[in-house]
């Protein structure tokens, strides 16, 4: 940048050494090509800025030997019911219909939707639970495929969040703060670790589910970090990346000729002016051109064998489904994309929970398990973290009428369930214990910030070292909290 207009007075950390190295060669016109080879090779404790192909990260070096290189986050938007999926409470069957004791709620706040509901009858899950695998993890009948991978996953039943409504809770899960404005997890990783793939963005977002809560692009944006770190949505309809395709009537060869002209003219300008920003722009246009090939190639599932679709389920043939997105996530992991964020909507079951959750599980169970198995058989699970979870759990008491076959559940942030697989999380772990009502945590809480700190540790990063100065303060993903949870690590 000729005039770095950063948010703070600190030189922009995203302007890596790589750019300066690039500049030394850019005037000759070979810089763009040279960049890749210059910055190839990865290694722990090697100077980070020269250690990554594509784009170097801001961290000079890693604090720990990284177990994981990339993350796939299967976000279940709306708040899946832990009580109907992972946190079995047999005692509730006897208490079904009884009022939630005050001794359990302890005056904790409720959302505006049930705070004034006259009775709060407890609702036992109508779904059967059984233990599975060597770990003996208890999983609901709604998740037969997940039940088969319990020995691959670390199941945490004591995630806890401070938020009780969707917008702040999702924002908190993604940024470590309930208020808008901070960078998301994927943006932090793009910023801190850079990317090893120079043909695809470091942070890719895939969405599925047609209704439910709004998805704000804030959930994958870069906050006060430079925009280059924001998540890029790959869409199932139209251009997979906005404006990726050439205009109608412009063949690829014509586009290349135009790009060659732009490049020649920009190089002349760079020779005359020497502004490094021009060299960067030349580089970005070249990456755009490469993406015109790499993105469609990525999205094209036609060469996947039938066995793939047998594994992920028939939905995987339909673009825009959760199953298709899981398959894309695996393809992105194969291409070393740093962070893949899936959003699947419509887990917000205030009423009619049994029917709704059945549908949600049918859409997600097989493909989630398939992704883990597929990564494993390809040798990618060792250094890829897969996360499955939403922004909070749901209340033990029924929102609205409780009948023998039907109930609803309100938002519940005190505890909820989430699982992780691969990348150094402990396989076969069942962690944390909630009370007999699935309301409060009895043992081993995992606050969101602690989870973030633990995730960063697996990526080789001490969470307090990944900071960015904005308006005078060194911000970090874990805000002022965060403790690594050794018990979750393999």
């Amino acid at each position: 940048m000729s005039d770095p207009r950063t948010h703070s007075h600190v030189p922009p950390p995203f302007t890596p050494l790589g750019r300066r190295q690039f500049l030394g060669r850019a005037t000759t016109g070979i810089g763009v090509v040279a960049l890749a080879s210059l910055l190839s090779g990865e290694g722990w404790a090697a100077p980070r800025r020269t250690a990554v192909g594509g784009r170097a990260g801001a961290l000079e070096h890693l604090d720990f030997a990284p177990k994981a290189k990339r993350v796939i986050y299967l976000f279940q938007s709306g708040g899946p019911s832990h009580l109907d999926l992972f946190d079995y409470k047999p005692g509730l069957e006897k208490l079904n219909g009884q009022e939630l004791p005050d001794s359990v709620r302890k005056g904790q706040r409720l959302t505006g939707m049930t705070a004034d509901q006259k009775t709060k009858p407890m609702a036992a899950s109508i779904f059967r639970f059984a233990q599975h695998g060597q770990s003996g993890a208890c999983v609901s009948e709604l998740l037969p495929h997940t039940a088969r991978i319990v020995d691959e996953i670390a199941l945490v039943r004591t995630m806890t969040t401070t938020a009780i409504n969707h917008d702040p809770a999702v924002t908190f899960c993604q940024t470590g703060a309930e208020q808008p404005g901070r960078p998301t997890l994927g943006a932090w990783l793009s910023y801190g670790l850079g990317t090893a793939n120079q043909d695809l963005p470091a942070f890719v977002v895939l969405t599925s589910g047609q209704v439910g809560q709004n998805l704000h692009t804030r959930y994958w944006e870069s906050g006060f970090l430079p925009t280059v770190h924001q998540g890029i949505q790959f869409r199932a309809q139209g251009d997979p990346v906005l404006f990726l395709s050439n205009p109608k009537g412009m063949a690829p060869a014509m586009r290349r000729s135009i790009l060659d002209s732009i490049r020649a003219l920009n190089e002349m300008k760079h020779e005359a002016i020497g502004d490094p920003e021009i060299a960067t722009r030349i580089e970005q246009y070249e990456m755009a051109f490469r993406m015109q090939t790499s993105v469609p190639e990525l999205m094209d599932l036609s060469h996947e064998p039938d066995s793939t679709f047998a594994l992920y389920g028939p939905d995987a043939r339909t673009p825009g489904t959760f199953a298709a997105n899981c398959l894309l996530a695996r393809r992105l992991a194969e291409r070393d994309v740093r962070f893949v964020q899936l959003y699947h909507r419509d887990w917000d079951h205030h009423g009619g929970l049994p029917a709704n959750i059945r549908r949600q599980c049918a859409q997600t169970d097989q493909a989630s398990a398939a992704l883990v198995l597929d990564l494993k058989q390809r040798g990618l699970l060792d250094d890829t973290v897969v996360i499955w979870g939403g922004e909070f759990g749901r209340t033990v008491y029924s929102q609205g009428n409780l009948t023998k076959t039907d109930y609803g559940r309100d938002h519940h942030g005190r505890c909820y369930s989430q699982w992780m697989a691969g990348g150094g999380f402990k396989p076969g772990l069942v962690y944390g214990e909630t009370d007999d009502f699935g309301y409060n945590i009895v043992r081993n809480p995992v606050p969101v910030h602690d989870f973030h700190a633990t995730l960063l540790r697996l990526l080789g990063v001490e969470h307090t070292h990944l900071t960015y100065r904005f308006q005078g303060r060194d911000f970090r993903l874990t805000d002022i909290a965060g403790e690594v949870m050794p018990a979750l690590l393999a």
Binding site: M1, S2, D3, P4, R5, H7, S8, H9, T111, G112, M113, T161, T162, I164, N165, H166, P168, A177, E178, Q179, G181, V211, N214, L215, T217, R218, T227, V228, R235, V241, L242, F243, K248, G249, M250, A251, M254, R255, S257, I258, S261, L265, I273, G274, E277, R281, Q284, M287, A288, M291, D410, T464, T467, Q471, G472, R473, D474, D479, I480, A481
Partner: protein, 808 residues
Amino acid sequence: MQGFRWGIAGALLLVVAVAKAAPPAAAPSGGPGRFARVVRPLLVAKCFACHADNVALSGLRLDSRAGMLKGGQRGAAINPGHPETSLLLRAVRHEGALKMPPEGRLSAAEIAALTEWIRTGAAWDGAPVGDGRLWALAPLTRPAPPEVRTRGWVRTPVDNFVLARLERERLRPAPYADRRTLIRRVTFDLTGLPPTPEEVDAFLADRAPGAWERVVDRLFADPHYGERMAQHWLDLARYADSDGYHDDTTRLMWRYRDYVIGAFNRNKPFDQFTIEQLAGDLLPNATVEQRTASAFNRCGPTTSEGGAVPEEVLARYASERANTAGQVWLGLTVQCAECHDHKYDPITTRDYYQLTAFFNQVPEQALYRGTDAPPTLLIATPEQQKLLDEHTAQITALEEEIKAEGGVAGTGAMVSPEEKARREARTKRLNDLKAARTRIDREARLRVMADVPERRPTHILLRGDYRNKGAEVQPGTPSVLGAPAAGGPANRLSLAKWLVNSGNPLPARVTVNRFWQMLFGAGLSRSSDDLGMRGEKPSHPELLDYLGSDFIANHWDVKRLLRSIVLSATYQQSSRTTAALRVRDPQNRLLARGPRFRLPAEFIRDNALAIAGLLDRARAPGGPSVKPYQPGDLWRELSAGDDAGKSYIQDHGPDLYRRGLYTFWKRSILYPSFAVFDAPKREVCAGQRPITNTPLQAFATLNDVTYVEAARVFAARIIQQGGVGFGPRLDYAYRVVLARPPNAREQDVMERLFRQARERYGADPAAAKELLTAGEAPQVTDLDLPEHSAWTCVANALLNLDETVTKE
């Protein structure tokens, strides 16, 4: 860019964190004031970078007494009363292997102060106070422009300050930029648009003295000036067309946007502009315009999320307003004091809640959405008023009719089935009319400010938690900045007047710095949203003070201020520089060259539309926000439900070609071609936009139909108005796009492209036809297809040049 509050999450977690680190002990007595005046600033300046909340190297935190007592890996940092056994002192005295701070030894006086503080018990007063060390709080001076050796270079006093510094550094300013560069630069800076070839030629031809002044004054008189200034101000005002939180419903705030445009165009003095926006509703006999201005405080995000807790939401709204005012007019991160006293700046938590007490008096519901959002102001257009009147008349007539029949109906007398049906239809019609009237009424309403008649109490919220109330506070300004004049109620009006009348140096410094940033890409202090202890000291402090005091002395005249800068030799320097100077001063802090940086998002689009001749220049500034081309239905992909505003209904005709600042600003899904060029979502106040450089930007200007249409329309213009033959036409194209002719090498490149394209499209007329139908602008059918297509390719290349999207 974004202001920050510590929400409940942060608050609760802070409690956790503090609990882990043992709560701060009650401060022992002794040495009142010394800690705040001397010791704390020393710790902030020398220690906090490594030993405060976020970064606690060696596990050591020095930002609380408890942290010092707990110490780090080497044990306790202090032993109160015993300097000789305090590790902190051994480290700063370099007595052992541990020598701190690493960047250099403290002065003897500083070490003595620390020693004395520990000897007397290491009292931690907690509250920081203004100690005169924060440059931005020092009284605004009016320094005399310094003497310089090269007097001939000086055009305005700005140059004395800049040149004096350069001469001290033994540097020379860059030569003047050529006239073509200059007029392009200043036209972008003052109107956000490129100059026309005619304007360029007129300036080149004007050899009389004062030619530059004539250009500048013409631009100040151009209504596009107000639009340009509004583009910047709307980021600060976090203006948007949707609610922001949760389902992000459409709201109607554009009348406030138009107020801002009008205020800049009429050169409303900045102090008045300030007062109207913060308290227009409280002015005596407030006009519609003044009440419209007060919508500034209703621009923040609001929520209608069903489960939200009203008390929490209202506390958030009040904080959001206080944070925004603090950032816009004080340039301070007041929001840091929401949970604890500010760690670096002299703002206490009490100060913070005193400030919010001005903003939590609004008679608003907590949960509301869209246009149903009292308090509002009815500002009906004549058409809307006519419709409202008609509806009211019909409703009144029907109601009277029903009333007149009331007696009959009341007797329980039999009515015929026909009569019953008639009455039911009438009731339905009445209800429909009422619903329609409500709808029209709401579409004519603007969210504005008001205060409740009886002041609500305000409490300090401990750790920022709305459930945890501390002492009650009265409305008040940060104590370090002095109080408003006595007399009259303490309300937003007294706050606003205090900002611009009290000698408080911040509003002028902050504002002048931001305008400088607008022109030079970076402020004199580059941390323009944070002039606090952690912000950057200005590169030219006397110049900032000079401009600030001059601004006030001249009644906050914005055009005069900007004029004094753009007429300077400093502003008119070439942005070219030598490799040596680029190494010496990569960020141009010394101002030995002119600014060169990429245009803001809206101007990149405006520029393309202006080049093509598509820009809607006919309409006066203002009007409802518009929805230009957007691929697919991005809104529906991510939004929920079926409410209006969930589906993007694109506009047609001239609305496709309005300037970017009129584009519908949906916070949850920003207009994609702006989002990629770093436009903020405006969820929070943003005084600085980053300038990034990404492949997605290339996609937008290469392939977005906006730019392809601009290219094909511009191509027709080149053929029709550029004369005959490739050379003259390319010359014309360059003059329109870059305000200069191409050089020979450039012409070679473009000619090669042109011939390739003409050959290809000559062989593929179907492709040519497709290319030439991009967008909804009328197609030009009387041109040679390959020729038109080839020029479209050249135009597409031109619109994507670095120089095209850059102000230089």
